[in-house]
Symmetry: D2
Subunit: 410 residues, 4 copies
């Protein structure tokens, strides 16, 4: 694969040791110009050190791209996904999956701008992230060359990586010399941890793995009550205070973190075919999905709600598998977005030691009709006798079946 | 509808005031023989008083049927449903829905035995339960006559009901004279509450409505750790102790109750067309669904798991709508049951103030393969280079699309 | 139900004997003002006689509404449905179902205009059409009163109907005195026949029942070759000649009719619960669905195409059941419409004695890439070796399963 | 990939030139023992010449396996698939896809028997068949080595192949020297043709490509009327004569062939990512699917039928993509098979110049109830007034929506 001739490559660069090694390896292996792209998706790291590191490694000033994508990430990726109540395999809120398409998109935009013919990422050859990055690359720039160093090089042990770093004067932080006890990915939506100490699914996740939340046990004894305002399916305010998408998620994260909310220990099925065990912390997202379901419960019609529920597993799978930029995801998104027209109102929640408890919902567009439920006759009259006909016709085919059975001596 | 001529009717009889009034009303309105059926589904009430009450109201000894259905209920209804991870509208564990088919089935069996031509139930004309009872009746005995007093009579206020009771010497407990502030249904799986004080979905559920669980705030400060053993998708032991289905659910209920687990405040879409607000307490079921998903996570193949996830919303809807005895529910059940062949093993859980936290899972049939996940080569070799081809072919159609877009100047 | 007080009712009026009887019955039973609505949906009948008949029956000039809906019908109902390749129960092109919502919509619009509080239709109490009419009425005017004479009156035999007509000086054509050997519904999309001579599904449909097509046996020995042009999923031209929606369908009908195309003898499942046997003639529609699938085959991506295929049965069921004006149909329609953006091009067809044979398709937006299929390398290179990785990773979970089986001695 | 060490390989061997070259290439490249497996799936070729050819090419007598799989193929693969009414992309009857799993299974059985560590097939690197063969291999023997010569060797032109054949004394039929104008695959279910002259989807399929059917134009002027008997979803007799599965399909093929039935010209989406154009002849299968739908129409309940229809596209996709031996296909098959319990009866068909016309169906288990459809009251009474309640409750949510719209001034 090193026979691909590459002139200029845009690397997804974090500034950390691993992507610094990749940077150097690209230079030495492909002899090509390297352009770095460092994005702030809310992973909680400073971006300037990445610039310094890139310069140090010989990247030209004009080849260093750094961008704060937090608002775009939440507005155009996280929120659209939450409109679908997407949960992969029933529980996982897709925090890693949803970040990849945006990074890929930006790399491709930069590649177009600087005339690069290749892109590179630091995802390993066994995971889902390589798929997510690369499907997005190809979907946006079909003729791009993709370099996936972890699938190509022979730096297959920590020792070899460190040797390579030393050889090429890459600074190595002390705590990076040994193998990490687990690997971490973070963005504004979540932190995921996997590998090593987490590998046996029989063993409890050690306390030191958690970084984003306190445990339910450590959370305050007093519940926190908040009201989230929604407009057309997206959260727009907390306790009446309007918030931008990223600020909203930050606030929810803070609330979730403090109340021990959003931890998940999971064995999941990777797209590349094996099962893996991960630990996820999604404090704000966990609050958000509960609140979103609650506001939908009074504003969405049953037909729309059940259609969404039936399509959700496939929608979540598409995002998990890396098909964000695919016609089928876009078609489903269009349907989901259109369903949210009246998903506007407020949800009151109690946050308490890991629990997200809905305690009230209101909406100017509520379909909940007290008159229909009680005995009082509402504007839409409900006649009890209608139920008889309703049941009789719903039962008709079942009765016909039963008669066949009877006829057969069943 | 009172022109239906009825000779003998089997009434689902709880022994309470309302079904006692129905009993009398059937006798006086239809002039027919009434057979009572009282079932123990774990609602937590004595059955003998129902017998005494029936005798008092003039029911013949041989026309009183009382049965403890707890084991059958859990084994043949609750557990099969949990194999599917069924949740209606994303969250509701279907505790009321699942009890109706069994009661109906028993009523029909008794009707066949005693030669009754009709059955009756005490469900109201606005709810789902009438549908569930009656679809089951018709599916099992297509020529049965169904009497639904709440849809037929004119006892439409509490005052009229009480008057009728007094007129017919039906004993009235003091606290039953006034209108209850909410109505309750209970069985071994759950307790549901709805109506009156719960009618405004903006208002928090008052504390006094909860009867089945303590609140997370009142739960112990120390977590409870348990291990649930599964065999072919069903829970069979707690901490190594084998338990019958009903005992299992009772134990889980006790554990859930003590740890503040399983409360749900929900606005749902009824089959009869309106939204209603309910409060559910499903302590054991809430533990069970989490545990079941966890044991599936290591024993079910992705293909089977995702198929189940996609079919679940419709399966849950069928049960909610009362189609337990329908070909489509039975076909889906067959598929679900078959998928559980290897869903055997143990799940360790931490229960803490409303949280059900998975902390470990093991199985003799685990598909989790540590060798595949780590760099070590397993019995099934994973070659990193395979990922490239995998991605390339998955990307092929997306690249073709991108080229079309490009050609069009997109 | 005759206790509903009604002042003015808009009747879907064909001018035929049955709806004339209904007209009179409404006047005499409800004592209300009757407004007639007669629509041309391409059923092949003159509309003016309906006006004369209405006048004769005492309807005021300003209460007679007659409208040619052919273009609207095809453009806004038929074509959108064909974008979905909708077939109910695998084969039925929904010709009756799709006409009802439009008629209902117009009735409601007239009701709003003339200040009517009720609407009425002539559908029987055993069929689907009553459901389709009424669900549309309620969805568009929730407080409307619906009168369904066939469910209310006691004119339950032909004799009684004729008596009523005679009593009220309704002119009776000679051939309408006796019971028709089958009933017919027609519009621009199809003609359906059912009842009486068609009732035994074991018996072949008698020749005289067909009215819209010649049989394959009578069709010409020479095939007809045509080219249909599509734009964004809709047919717009035949052999280069641009045609309006209704003209397009008329032309296709003519072509189908002459070539013995579009007959269907079917036992179907009605929404109201029983099976019924019908005979449908859909000459143009049968050509159209084949052509539409063909143009999609080169312009739609697999992801979009398969998503559409999976959603189609439910979409067709919604239309069949009368849920055209429902959020779920509208959401699905939005998805389907969006998928058609590039479904533009030409399809060449051979029509021959009942057969519709695709013999060629071209599109400026074709995704068919000859270079990819042959050995020549295209703009998007296809590397044979990629297939190995693709297969290996797709096989990974199956191999893991096989190893488990082996381990268990399977 | 030639670094895989292989001792003994089981080759799917047709006896033709291409697989003979593969045979020799395996011997010379891998230096391994070659075992040939030649199966009769009804492709219409003698098997004995394959034996002679194998002997000639140096295969030991005991390493030559020849088997007539026709009955097994139809009974265990074709019929189960037709129970689902499986059509890929709406029209393709999966004739090629369904043959691969059986061949693979037999190769693996032979590999186990003779102690081979590898299997090989002659499918190209761009098609679906390689995927289907190999997924089946891996699912049945996870540690097997798979050799796919067309992905590995450098015999990438006809000239090189012929040279290799000459070099190794492989007999070459005269008509095999040049490149074939299209490639063909055949078995008892169908013949498929693709490539070269078929590559431009704008061009009509030339007449000489068809080999399995006469054209509708050449078919007799007299229709053929037949009655197919079904038992539990499978055809068992024609005109009263019991037939084994393979004989059944042969008879249907003959009938289809003579009446110009079963041609399909299609652009389809391959699993490996590109579109391809193929021409299929499935004479018997085309008759069978129509007949099967017809017998289901009177014996299957609506709930079961619609569930099947909704699952069908995914089931067909699984088979097309090669996942026959996967848990999800097996689970769906279980559901489908169970649904067929009462799919027993007779269907009368008219075959005429490409048309398959249902003219009658009967069943001892028919759910079609004439009494329900007509005005006469059946054993299960249908009360017209029930329809009102049925509609009213189905309309309730739509009315609530309409009121919201109204409130908003919509």
């Amino acid at each position: 694969m090193t026979d691909k001739r590459v002139k200029k490559v845009v690397l997804a660069y974090s500034g950390g040791l691993d992507t610094s090694i990749i940077l150097k390896w690209l230079q030495t292996t492909y002899g090509c110009e390297v352009v770095t792209f460092t994005a702030d998706l809310g992973q909680g790291e400073e971006l300037e050190p990445a610039r310094q590191k890139a310069l140090l490694l010989g990247i030209k000033e004009e080849n260093i791209f750094i961008e704060d994508l937090r608002e775009e990430f939440v507005r155009d990726y996280v929120f659209p996904m939450f409109r679908a109540n997407a949960e992969y395999e029933g529980v996982y809120l897709l925090g890693t999956s949803i970040a990849r398409p945006l990074i890929s998109k930006k790399q491709i935009e930069i590649a177009e701008k600087v005339g690069a013919d290749a892109v590179a990422h630091g995802a390993t050859g066994k995971g889902n992230d390589q798929v997510r990055f690369e499907l997005a690359y190809y979907a946006l720039k079909p003729d791009v060359t993709v370099i996936a160093p972890w699938r190509e090089w022979d730096l297959l042990s920590r020792t070899k990586l460190i040797e390579f770093a030393e050889q090429h004067q890459i600074p190595i932080a002390k705590d990076k010399r040994g193998e990490a006890p687990f690997s971490v990915d973070a963005n504004l939506l979540h932190t995921s941890s996997e590998g090593k100490v987490l590998e046996d699914p029989a063993d409890e996740v050690p306390d030191y793995v958690y970084s984003r939340t306190i445990g339910p046990e450590e959370a305050p004894d007093e519940p926190t009550v908040i009201t989230i305002g929604f407009e057309e399916g997206d959260p727009v305010s907390i306790d009446g205070e309007k918030l931008s998408p990223a600020s909203m998620l930050e606030h929810l994260n803070q609330l979730g973190r403090e109340n021990g909310i959003g931890r998940l220990d999971l064995v999941e099925n990777r797209f590349v075919g094996m099962k893996s065990r991960g630990m996820y912390e999604t404090p704000g997202g966990t609050i958000l999905i509960t609140a979103h379901r609650a506001i939908e419960s009074i504003t969405l019609d049953r037909g729309a709600a059940h259609l969404k529920d039936e399509l959700m597993p496939r929608y979540a799978e598409l995002i998990y598998n890396g098909f964000w930029f695919s016609p089928e995801r876009e078609l489903l998104q269009g349907l989901i977005d259109k369903s949210q027209e009246f998903v506007t109102g407020e949800v009151r929640l109690k946050l308490y030691k890991g629990n997200v408890i809905v305690i009230g919902r209101t909406s100017p567009f509520s379909l909940y009709d007290q008159d229909l439920v009680t005995f009082e006759e509402g504007a839409v009259a409900y006649d009890h006798r209608d139920a008889e006909g309703f049941i009789k016709l719903n039962a008709l085919r079942l009765r016909t079946l039963a008669q066949r059975k009877k006829r057969l001596g069943g």
